[in-house]
Symmetry: C2
Subunit: 471 residues, 2 copies
């Protein structure tokens, strides 16, 4: 059987073009049926599935031994000859349903214990804690593989589109300083600096603005963002966004570029989906609240059509909101610019509740899938925002001094947006939960059941990091 | 001047094709010279630089006011007419040296304080702490912008090449569980689980192997890797690698794919570079140590030629090394497979010091730029490694139980590599330090001087994370 070694591997899907030829296939036993002395296995690889016929008399002695052992999820190499199926045996539901492979030799790479759940049915019906613990088995299902492949295609489309439009992808640090505003952040003790901490960024907001100060003009990054918030169905401690920022632009420039991006994305990656309305409808925050009672309305006319996509923009949010303590807080992002016609109110700190921000949110089928704004690039005007938010002069210098300093060296007008990847891919795959489109998600209480994270850490390592557990 | 508003922005480099036309340029004042009533500014944007001539009589009244103020690094919009230069005024060193722009109007977007260092000369001569504090100014230099753009092109080439070869990019978590082996890891206290911690991954090693168990067959990821080690010149607390893994492969498959990747990369992205020898020479660890005294030899025949690239592979490393405590430790990666001919020695735990690993390192001009191996996909054999390393049965189950469990469900033979991005781009840009090719690097003692990280954190936030500082 020396010739076996010389054969190059074919993928399962290629077999239909190799009728009459000897092929070497590698993959997993998806299922097995026996009929008397004959055996049939469905052999699965990333490309699909094919029927392999096991006839002892046709098999090498190693193959005959293997035939006795073979069970579901065994990892094997099969050498065999591709045969056309008889008219009646053709399976129109299977892309390889016109052929089968008569096995000559089988090598078992690795046996498999019985999986804790059935991989051949829809795993969404399985208890999710079990799925997450054995995620490497759950990901073997065709649906999960398709979801991850689509996620990659969406990401690659974003990258190609942005590169074509003159953007440069630039990585920014994950060990950084916290923003005292916004969501709760994860802390990372600094071993080399006792009593000090890095934080994991909620987004690259400050870095991307500093990139504009640096004259990069068009930056993007597929960025991981970290938020230590109590988890909800569509929240994870880490999520991914296509963070981008542009110089010398107004609101309309960013919105039209992003609209073009989504329209082209759908055409290219999920052409079976239909965008309900182009250009995307635009609602003011006030209209959205009055008409739909929320600021991410689901505008689909036919909610039963799984292939309709109702994009919309929501704009003209109030910049400031009354805080619980009676002072002012910001509605979206303190680094945003107010609408140009409200700049004077900001500078004079009057009509504060009426100042509108340049914020634009993009909404799809009732989910917010991204948000951004034109930024406040004038240090004096930005300082007014922090004053309205109740920060003392000293506080402003300590927390935002580096940004105000940066903006005093000829910062350009700039703006951007951060389209999320998780929710978008969830909608495009018709899934109900972002965990279905993330390879290794965490549970609702932020545990990784497969790896066993978070976990206890040896005393010695805590000491090195200059921390101890507070009981 | 209403027509000004209607003009679309041109980039500086486009002006040479717009002679006689009115253009709108946006960018920064790179420098200014005055000759009597005439002024000249070099206007810089990401595309390059152009000379703008200021003649008061030609300028709008706003332009005349601006002309009085304009200084280096002011951010401006200039409207003007592109004029050919006289024969004698042509500057052959400047891509736009055949033309100049006679300004009609100037808008100052943002003034600039005097920068703390000269941005027009080679900033490598400047004190690095000052450069890092004002990184957003340092990045305005042509060299730094070119470095970041090349980094993006290299990354995009990797992605395109791997996609073409059937790889899927898949994101893995940054909040995970530690590997008790390897470098020191950064800790992240878990707010929802008192006394427990996530760690930031040294690499996606375990996840990428679990992806192979999951049947993804060809995975890659441009992954951030975190190591809390004492810093050296070419180390950073976070670095980037193109992590990849393939199923059903042997050492030769991975090495030849990666060799093709680097050869094509150089041809495409830095065609002015010359690879000294293709196929890349291969050295055993023993040969490298005997002949060069180290395992990442610089094989360049002409070390004065800045455009020569001497790639090489180093293979056949010992799997185990004697540890300080007299036991065994591993040289590279405990998850590697031994060379096939030494598998029996591993299973019988004999000739331990002579067992060679399937590890392959790729070396370029004296730097290790990537390393990988064929993995040990058989749970019994992997367990032998941990036994040799001195782990108790209980210890093995606690620390590696999830991997051994995963491998018992038909794990395929697999292997991979993790080509680093930082050092590669450093070499391709002829830089001496990886900080020159990272947008926002940290100092030797892991501080971010621009953001002020790490920093002190309010008591309240430490309490939420269930930790306190150990004095």
């Amino acid at each position: 059987m020396l010739h076996v070694i010389m054969l190059q591997r074919s993928t399962v899907i290629e077999t239909t073009k190799l009728v009459g030829q000897e092929v070497l296939l590698k993959g997993w036993v998806h299922g097995r049926r026996d009929m008397g002395k004959l055996g049939f296995i469905d052999l699965r690889d990333r490309s699909g599935m094919v029927q392999v016929v096991l006839v002892p008399a046709e098999l090498s002695s190693r193959g005959q031994e293997a035939m006795k052992d073979l069970r579901s999820e065994y990892c094997v190499a099969v050498t065999g000859v591709v045969k056309p199926r008889g008219e009646k045996q053709i399976n129109p539901d299977l892309p390889t349903g016109t052929i089968e492979v008569l096995a000559k030799d089988i090598e078992i790479y690795n046996p498999s214990k019985t999986p804790p759940f059935d991989l051949t049915s829809d795993t969404r019906a399985i208890n999710e804690e079990v799925r997450l613990k054995y995620r490497y088995l759950d990901l073997r299902s065709e649906r999960m593989q398709r979801n991850l492949v689509l996620r990659d295609r969406v990401a690659q489309f974003f990258r190609d589109f942005l590169h074509k439009n003159g953007f440069v992808e630039i990585e920014t640090p994950y060990l950084t300083k916290g923003t005292p505003e916004g969501s709760r952040e994860f802390l990372v003790p600094a071993r080399l600096h006792q009593g000090k901490f890095y934080v994991l960024p909620q987004s690259p907001q400050q870095f991307k603005q500093l990139m504009m100060v640096a004259g990069m003009e068009r930056y993007f990054q597929m960025a991981r963002c970290f938020r230590d918030e109590d988890q909800r169905g569509d929240r994870q401690p880490e999520h991914t966004q296509f963070d981008l920022e542009m110089s010398f632009v107004e609101r309309e420039d960013v919105m039209s570029l992003i609209e073009e991006l989504y329209v082209e994305l759908i055409k290219t990656v999920t052409p079976h989906k239909r965008i309900q309305q182009v250009p995307f409808p635009r609602l003011t925050y006030k209209e959205a609240m009055e008409k739909y009672g929320n600021d991410k309305p689901d505008l689909r006319e036919d909610k039963n059509d799984p292939n309709v996509l109702a994009f919309a923009w929501v704009v003209d949010f109030p910049f400031f909101e009354k805080a619980e303590d009676g002072g002012w807080t910001y509605s979206h992002n303190p680094f945003s610019a107010p609408k140009p016609e409200h700049r004077e109110w900001l500078m004079e700190k009057k009509n504060i509740g009426d100042i509108l921000t340049t914020q634009y949110d993009i909404v799809l089928n009732g989910f917010e899938i991204g948000g951004g704004s034109i930024r406040n690039h004038e240090p004096d005007a930005l300082k007014k925002v922090f004053e309205i938010l109740g920060h003392s002069e000293e506080d402003i210098q300590e927390k935002f001094g580096h940004m105000l300093e940066a903006f005093s060296y000829g910062a350009p007008p700039h703006g951007g947006i951060g389209p999320g990847l998780d929710r978008l891919v969830m909608i495009l795959t018709n899934e109900q939960n972002i965990r279905e489109v993330i390879a290794f998600p965490k549970t609702g209480d932020a545990r990784d059941l497969m790896m066993g994270a978070p976990s206890e850490i040896e005393e010695k390592r805590l000491r090195e990091a200059h921390i101890q557990i507070k009981k």
